[in-house]
Amino acid sequence: MENNELDIENRIAVFEKKFDELKELASIFNTDMTIEIKAIEKKLLKEKKLLYSDLTPWQRVLISRNSLRPRSSDYINSLLENRVELFGDRIYGDDPAIIGGLANFRGYNVVFLGQEKGRDTKERIAKNFGYMHPEGYRKALRLMKLAEKFNKPVISFVDTPGAAPGVEAELRGQAIAIGENLAMMSALRVPIISIVIGEGGSGGALGVGVSDKILMLENAIYCVCAPETCSQILWRDNNHAPLAAEVFKLTAKELKELGIIDEIVNEPLGGAHKDPKLAISRVGRALKKNLDELVALDSDELVAKRYLKYRQIGKVA
C-alpha cells in the first residue's frame, strides 16, 4: 500500500501554488504588493506550524514512510567521515538491507549500522525494502562484537518496516538471529546509541535497536507491528490502520511519555524531507551529545544501567 501523500501536504501545495501565481502576477503587472505578500507569507507559515504541530499518529506514519525522507545512508554519508563499509556475516552472505562499518564521528572512532530501505524502485528492490534477513542481523552482531573487542561505541540507525517474513528468512533462523542480537546487545560492553529515523518496525527494528540511548526523530514511528497488520488481525480489514496507529502509541512523543525512548530530535517544519540538511545536522548534534555522556561511563556501569533501563519497562508493582 503506497500512500505517501498527506492530505494536508496537498492542501498546502495548492495554496502555495496559488500564492506563487499571485506573486508572478504582481511582478508582471509591476504592482507593489510587498505588504500583502509578506502578510500572506506570515499567515502561511503560521498555518503550517499549526497543521504540523497537530498531526495525527496516522499522519506521522505516512511521513515516517515518505520516500523522500533522508535514509540511513544520507545520515551516514553526511555525518561520518573516513568511512569503511564492511560486508557479510561470514556465514551465509551480505544483507544489503543493512549497511555497516567503521568511521569517524566528531572525534570518535565508531562502528556504524544503518537499516537501509533504498530510494528509487531499483534501489528499494536491491535493499529488499529494508526488510532484513538473518544474515543482516548476524552481520550487525559481528560488527558489534568487533566494536566491543576494540572498545569503540556503536551508532545504529533504525529504519525498517520489519524483519523479512519469507521462507528464506525462516530457513536461516530469523527468530534465532534476532534473539541472539537482543541478548548480546543487552550486555555489550561499549556504548550503543540507536536512532529511529523513519519506521521502527517491530522485532526487525529491535534486533539492531537495543541500546543505552534510544533517540527518535519527531515524525518517526516505533511499533509492535504495522498498523495495517493490526487492522487486519483485529478488525479483519485495512480501514482501521489509522485507529490502530492511534491506540498503539507509536509516535515519538507518546513513547517518550511511556518511558520507552530517551530523546526526541525535532524535525524541520513539515518533516525531515523538507529540509534534509537541517534534519541531519540536528541528528548529528544529538548523537554527539549522547556519545559524550556515554563514553564517560565505565563498562560495568554502562551495562548495569542498560539492564535497568529495560528492566523498568512495563514494570508492575
Binding site: A175, L206, V224, I313
Partner: protein, 258 residues
Amino acid sequence: MSNQVKKSVCPSCGIETSKEDLEITYKVCPKCNYHYPIGADERIRLLIDEGTFIEYDAELESSNPLGFPDYEDKLLKDKELTGLKEAVLTGEGNICGYPVAIGVTDYRFRMGSMASVFGEKVVRCIERAIEKRFPVIIVSSSGGGARMQEGMLSLMQMAKTSSACMKLNQAKLLYIDVLSYQSFAGVMASFASLGHIILAEPGTKVGFTGERGRSSIKQDLPEGFQTAEFVMQKGMIDMVVQRKDLKAVLADLLDFFS
C-alpha cells in the same frame, strides 16, 4: 472441548480417543503421535515432582496500560477459560529431585503472547533463579509474539527478557527451552531461542513469521516447513523429544550440568 465430551477426535489423524486414554498418554494421540497442546497447569503436573511446586508472582495480572479497545474483555475471557491471570505461569519445583525455576507459557491465554506482566514474570523468575543458583526451564507454547494490545511495552519485553537470559548465562546457570505446540515471533525471537539447550516436542511449529504473517506472500513451502523435526534438521534446535520422555530427558540434562 467441553468436559461433557467423553471422546476426543485427533486433529491430525481423525481417530477418536477416550479422555481417559488421552490422560494416560499425556495428551498424545495413541495412533499418530500427535501431541495435543496442553495448558500451563497441566505442564507443571507433567514435569514437576508432586507437591514441590511453588508459584511465583501468582497475584500479578495485566491491566490495560494503553487503553486499548476491548483488551480488558479479552483478558477476562482468557482468565475464565484458563484459570490463569496471565499467559505465563512461573515458579520453582523439583524435576526428579533437581530444583529448578520454571516458566510455562499458555497458548490459550492471548495465544501465549508476551506483554508487560508476562515479561515481568519471566524476568523475576530468572532473577530469582540467579539468586538461588537454580537452572531455568521455560516451556513455550506461544503462537503470539509481542502482544499487540500493549504496543511497544510488549515489544520491549523481548529486550527485557533477553537481557535477563544473558544475565543468567553470565551467572553460568543452565537454561533450557522447551517448545511445545507452537513458538513464534517475539517469543521465539527472544527468551525461547536463547536456551543453552533447545528441545521441542514432535510436530511443534517453530519460527519467526507464522502462517498468518506470511499470507500476503505467495511462496511454495518445503515439506514439513517450520515443524520441530524440520528446524532440527536445519540446525536450529537441539532435539525433538517425545512428551512421555520429556521429564526424564530434562532430569538427565540437569544431572549432567549439576
